[in-house]
Amino acid sequence: MSTCETVRDAIYQATALLDDQKWNDWLSMCDESFQYSITSWSPEINYNMTYLAASKKDMHHLVDLLPKHNTDHSPLHRHTSVYSVTPSDDGKTAKAVSSVLIFQNMLDGTNSHIDAGESRLFLIGRYIDTLQVEDGKATFLSRELKLDNRRLDKGSHWPL
């Protein structure tokens, strides 16, 4: 399998694990040096914002403490399309850019009696990933989710 195919597979596998809320399985695909961030450009304040920045250890804390927090129970479903994979000259790492649309399948909704079962577009953006490729296996070194949204309603306690 080529580097590009290995990277693509890893991104799609990560998408499936996140959709299934298998947070620790997803984190096991990440190197110990993994850095995760959610960012967005705001024309309102003319600033490249960081909405979340976390190391692998931070992400473990975050997911471990999720059960202690109240959250919206509506599952998220990511549709990822890998646009480009660019291997480094030495072939050991690769950068990938993917489009991602995240849908919220309402469980709580605004009023679950009315909304449950409906799916709504929740967020749009791009994954900008750096992966290490070794022995045919890709490991995430970093992931930036660059959102287009600056309107962010309830329903966003979970890793995206």
Binding site: P43, I45, T50, L52, H69, N70, T110, R150, R151, H157
Partner: protein
């Protein structure tokens, strides 16, 4: 008592006057319209921060009570506000949320606000400087001096926020909100601030329910973070102090941020003049919140969109002089609980959304209790009581029975 029947459910609670309100204050369309007219068109609102328009000719657009507003910085560095409405045929002059007039636009020249519809142009003081084919169409009957923009009261104050009031005759901003800001004035005005965070949420709930949540801390029980970092004797001794005009200030104490796994002390990056890890909150009538947790300042501004729909804009601020590393630390501190993916904000939004579900137009009027009395400390509900007393005066409606006038009830109370 077991679960109650309808009469019991609707009975007056065994509390004092002012310790409950009628849910119609959150659900009634006429009340919502009156709030826009009587409150929001007369109150000072921080529509943006000066750092959002840092250079001459920069602008921001916004709205208060459905009135579109443009704020711009002139070549004299003054920040001014105008109705974002062309005096010709009512077109919105600028449609983008922000930008610069330094460059020309398809319909107009550089350094001008231009209405794209017919090319009328205005300078940064709101004066009309160009009317297309003026003489041919208006001869000597109307000239540029007759068609300047509508200027609005505008002050840059309390940490560089840009405040606008639609009422030309409103009291000045210092008299409106100066006293509650005393607790943070030195910290906010020691050096220029800069906005590093903006997002908005639109929630199906009444704007006052969001402000109520910012005014009461009894909902700590919803936030695991607050319980582990806050609950101690000093926390429960924090005071809710009432100020004129419906404002309140929640006093400070030292937060133990490192009690939450993975979080850290904020002591090394406290705002100027602020002791380590302190936490002050200022709630201004009718729906503005300033929240300083040691290293990061948050500001919420509500825009009511309907009796059951509210936009909340969230800003996070640090010091303009921050190094890159310090700024990132402040951002992380801000985001940890207040960011859209943080621990607390999301829970607050779920809370008020749940209230919005049970109190929407057409739902049965019911009592909402504001009756906790704990010597005006953190879990006392005096902040909400103080707010609704002010609200009653502005609308001349009794919060516990909004179809009755506030003035009449006050007269009865005085006679008693």
């Amino acid at each position: 008592m077991a679960a109650r029947n309808h009469d019991q459910w609707m009975a007056t609670p065994p509390l004092q006057k002012g310790e409950w309100i009628d849910s119609r204050v959150y659900t009634d369309y006429q009340i919502f319209e009156e709030e826009n007219e009587k409150i929001f068109k007369n109150a000072w609102v921080p529509v943006c921060h000066e750092s959002e328009l840092s250079k001459p000719y920069d602008f921001r657009t916004t709205s208060i009570a459905r009135e579109p507003i443009i704020v711009c910085r002139g070549p004299d560095n003054q920040v001014r506000a105008f109705l974002n409405v062309c005096p010709h045929r009512g077109m919105m002059i600028e449609r983008r949320p922000s930008g610069s007039f330094f460059e020309g636009q398809p319909s107009g020249n550089p350094k001008r606000m231009t209405c794209m519809f017919h090319g009328w142009q205005f300078d940064m003081k709101g004066s009309c400087v160009y009317v297309s084919r003026e003489k041919e169409g208006y001869q000597d009957r109307l000239c540029k001096d007759d068609v300047g923009l509508r200027r609005l009261r505008c002050e840059v104050k309390f940490g560089g926020f840009v405040w606008v009031n639609l009422n030309d005759k409103a009291p000045d901003l210092e008299s409106w909100a100066g006293k509650p800001f005393e607790c943070l004035r030195k910290s906010l005005e020691a050096e220029p601030l800069e906005v590093f965070h903006y997002h908005k949420a639109i929630v199906d709930t009444n704007y006052k329910l969001w402000h109520d949540t910012n005014c009461e801390f009894y909902h700590d029980f919803m936030h695991y973070h607050n319980r582990v970092t806050g609950f101690n004797d000093a926390y429960f001794a924090r005071k809710n102090e009432a100020f004129d005009n419906g404002h309140i200030v929640v006093g400070t104490f030292e937060v133990n941020y490192d009690k939450y796994e993975g979080f850290e002390s904020r002591a090394s990056l406290s705002f100027p003049h602020l002791p380590p890890n302190q936490w002050y909150m200022i709630d201004l009538f009718p729906g503005i919140n300033f929240n300083l947790r040691g290293s990061a300042l948050r500001c919420d501004v509500v825009t009511p969109l309907g009796p059951n729909k509210t936009m909340i804009e969230f800003r996070g601020l640090g010091l303009k002089s921050d190094s890159k590393e310090d700024r990132m630390t402040r951002i992380n501190h801000h985001n940890s609980i207040w960011g859209p993916f943080g621990r607390n904000l999301h829970e607050d939004l779920i809370g008020v959304q749940g209230q919005g579900n049970t109190m929407m137009p057409g739902t049965e009027p019911r009592r909402v209790l504001h009756g906790r009395q704990e010597n005006q400390t953190i879990h006392d509900e005096n902040g909400m009581r103080h707010y609704y007393d002010e609200w009653g005066k502005w609308l001349n409606r009794l919060p516990s029975s909004p179809d009755k006038p506030y003035a009449a009830a006050s007269a009865v109370t005085a006679a008693e």
